[in-house]
Symmetry: D2
Subunit: 341 residues, 4 copies
């Protein structure tokens, strides 16, 4: 297989994807697309990209493009992704793959019918702190999991644009909280069956949805989860995540240079502790890369090359969206809601 | 009023209370009581206390004692406290005041009929980090609260004794988690109306109750709460508590020498931050005193002297217990439960 | 031996010692002494001590007192300690034992001639973080030491009283910095042979001595040391201490609930680190007790009882003072100075 | 001015520079040079660079190259830099600019005679934490400086290659410690006049130079400095730097997401502190970029364009080297050494 030619659509977060493509040996940033022509030209000049489109469907006619990265507003994902798939292109779609599971199913169907790859960019799975946590769990170092909590607490006070548009109906739980929801189910290596939540709106009072939602998740086999989503939090952004197992605990996030690991087996340090109820925190160094788009594109690129290793499939994205929908529904009904995948 | 003579009953945690009485000018540690005679004598020797009882009801006949501190196992509180009140004594009862709201009501009634003071030892209200948090909230520095979370994560693996006795029916949510529940409602300055929870038992598998419970609380006026209680957690003990307000956020606990405060008003430091989405953590120094029994007894003593300032009344203790009961009930029914005060 | 009767002289820091005596079984706080009669009476009332003196030499005539704790201003130590020793009393003298090694030698001579115990209260040796560091070194976990640094950075801006009196000639290096100097030589388990230092006075401009001194220490056998003393530092007080060994490093202080330990042997965690140049910080829990006077008095009490276990002898105090003197001298001569013990 | 064509020599650390050139609009990575042909070809392939040299002097004959980045072993800097300057090229030379001030003077002379720019890559000046510290100092927030300490503590145990070659005579103080030395003088905005140091070799016992050096610096006007250099430290790498001023203190490094600032003026938080001796740490968020070569090349590029703004001149590099030489000399003579610029 020769050099893979990639087109990037949507130059908000998509600028990061474009740079990742540009820096990847074996891939070529073939074309860029954005409705904002000024932004498009300025950015394309910077990276020296000649093919520029303000209309995605015009772009689709360009036969030279092998694969698309769709990083447009969430409510546009379904149509654009399906169109690209039906045009015979492989697609990496920015998270959330869509705002509703019904849309996701259409997208999966389109990919199946076209026989093309559809990956969802759940970028948190590539953050070094979370990758280290996954590795520790898989090594069996903390035993069997019984509770996982993750939070997406971000201050959107100064954010404007499409996210605040009532027409978009972009609920923060799906829009940003899907990071935390996806993280919990990926670390758990299983899916929850029920969700319960409360929500309110006290900070972003002129936004169309509640800004803060706290939710509990119930898994088969006695595992429990918690996800906190807030887009009005007056504090530093981080996705603090705590994973409790029968033999140890992990405290991690995507903004600190260390992950904290507590384990029963202390590796020769027991002699320092007279009181057995005390615990040693082992601070494991990790790199900081809260949005590791380079690694995300590497995974997509590798799947394009070998056609078989794709892990973060559209099905994965769909299950995450289904959980978000149940969380939102529970906050409206006031009752626990079964998750419908 | 002369020197107040105090009797302490139950020399587990009660040893701390006894020392606090012993160190307080104006109070006298008059007598000690415990069913374990060896422990009783050893400890009484240390503090030089002559009057020693293995039978509380014998002790009650001693007219010289003005006030009692009851620090016996939770299921004994009701009978002992009521007996002391009916004997005309003021009482400080260790938390939880009882295991059920129905018992609490009996105790409150007994206090009212006897015209005596009944305080509950919710000692977390005296931890310097939490007192500082309360002060910051009262100063209005973080605006209106919209979410409070607190956790009681403790490793009981090596604990044995009455807490593991099935007859005691001491649920961890009431037994230890009442610390976190009481903290949330005290910081909120209001009471929740509904609770929802999940629980499981994966660590202390031979204990009589679930060891881990995660619960959400709903308050009037759009405030939400979360309480996590786990007695099997493999990590360092702390009561991490986060208080989110419309103008700021507090992150605090009872084991760190600092509280973190994030506020919109940066006090002249705005000039350092070009990017307005970033937040400065102001680390406020606090003393560490996770179980500040000295300050707790000071409050009791002051109430004994002036007969009017008692803040942590039996009613306060009862409301905290009522919330714990709803949390436990929800974990059994799988449904949100109204809290019955 | 019956109950040991102790007199405490100097009710500034001495109040802590008095409370430690009062709380110790086997010891009795027999008498208190301070030149400030109002302070004396108020404090003696609190602890219920009847014998009160404003004149130490009057107090000395009281035959019932077995041992003295001298906690007066530093320049008074020599005369008072020697008088007590010559009166046949055992003495615990607050650090620094004296301001000059010549005085120390007189005090040691007096103790020898009288056959009495003379302990110096280098209280940092009892801080839990530093005790843990000493234990780790003794376990051989960090190999052979090659550099130790300690700092005494304290903000004295609001302190007034005898410390600012030019007549006292209390240099901060000896007065407060002796904590850090003593710590370094105790952790090293050997004594430096040479010191070099610079100093200045930029904050406490109206104080009689330089407020900040930075010094290097040279030990036999290639060990090096650094001590930083500053009484004008605008930051939180702590005695940050770093101990570098050929197999590991300890970072500790007396105000944090953890000590950080880095060791080559990672105890089963090597599998988590691909890059061998990275190091895991093991955070060992320690209690916080920056001035653990209770443990200090315990050691004195035990020595009084068995007459043989005294570790922090006057000779120890004298060697610490000798180092302080060399540091101060070097800051004046601008040359490295041999330490004269 | 058109696109500036840059040649990079030395593909160890120089790979970072090459990537920075490659990513900079207005600059072109024209050619690469390394004596290791395999490494050269592999890296050149990655970035798609056609012109490749294993002989620097051959490369110099290529007239199309406008500017050079010299990132070869330290002892080769002088000859290569001078040759490039005399060929009429502008040069960015990796730190240390040379191992001896005498070499530096030759290089400065060559630049002056050729009328070309010579910048030294003291990359720490671009680390976000240190830039923030510089800004705080310049804002006057911490008053007049009286002590600055910085450390370069790195574990070189697994490093091999030219740094361990006795022929290179690369002393760690100049080789790596120049980072900390340069940082101190840049933050101080003045130069020290005298140095004193001790050194030893306990970890890298088969290396040609001492691995650990602790040194003090004396500046005019009562400012003092400390630099610690260790290439055998068993701990995580960081350049911890503390800056003490008469009105505040900064604690910062190049590996943490925060800088700690203590200031007298608390910005409305004074009401929280009853005890005036306590200090609030304001944790200012900073990005982590311990080796921000991108920003370093930006500065070089801007100087190439406007020919006037160069800040980190060869003279700056030379003064840093002169201090390193005095530190090394003092460790050999055992005496304080005047610094000869």
């Amino acid at each position: 297989m020769g050099e893979i030619k990639v087109g990037v659509v949507g130059l908000g977060i998509g600028r990061s994807h474009a740079r990742a493509v540009d820096g990847k040996q074996g891939a070529k940033l073939e074309a860029l697309c954005d409705v904002n022509e000024e932004l498009l030209n300025k950015f394309a000049d910077t990276l020296g990209v000649e093919k520029r489109y303000t209309d995605f469907y015009e772009m689709l006619k360009d036969d030279s493009i092998d694969a698309y990265i769709i990083a447009t507003p969430d409510n546009l994902h379904q149509d654009m992704v399906c169109a690209a798939l039906r045009a015979g292109k492989d697609v990496l779609c920015e998270k959330p793959i869509a705002l509703h599971n019904s849309e996701c199913k259409e997208m999966i169907k389109a990919a199946d019918e076209a026989g093309r790859l559809l990956m969802v960019g759940q970028v948190c799975r590539f953050a070094p702190g979370f990758k280290m946590a996954k590795k520790i769990i898989e090594e069996g170092m903390i035993g069997e999991l019984y509770f996982i909590e993750s939070e997406y607490a971000h201050d959107y006070t100064e954010i404007r644009g499409w996210r605040t548009d009532p027409e978009m109906k972009r609920h923060p739980v799906t829009g940003g909280g899907c990071h935390a929801v996806d993280l919990v189910r990926w670390l758990a290596d299983k899916d929850p069956i029920e969700a319960f939540s409360y929500s309110n709106k006290k900070v972003l009072v002129d936004w169309p949805c509640d800004d803060t939602t706290i939710s509990l998740l119930k898994f088969d086999g006695d595992l429990m989860g918690k996800v906190y989503v807030s887009t009005g939090s007056k504090r530093d952004y981080t996705m603090r995540t705590v994973i409790y197992g029968t033999k140890g605990t992990i405290i991690c996030d995507n903004t600190s240079p260390h992950l904290s690991l507590y384990v029963e087996e202390l590796g020769g340090m027991n002699k320092l502790l007279g009181d057995q109820m005390k615990h040693i925190a082992h601070k494991i160094p990790v790199k900081i890369s809260s949005h590791n788009v380079v690694a995300e594109f590497d995974e997509f690129y590798n799947a394009l090359v070998d056609r078989s290793t794709l892990k973060i499939t559209a099905q994965e994205g769909a299950r995450t969206v289904a959980i978000c929908e149940a969380i939102i529904k529970s906050s409206e009904t006031g009752m626990p809601e079964k998750i419908e995948y």
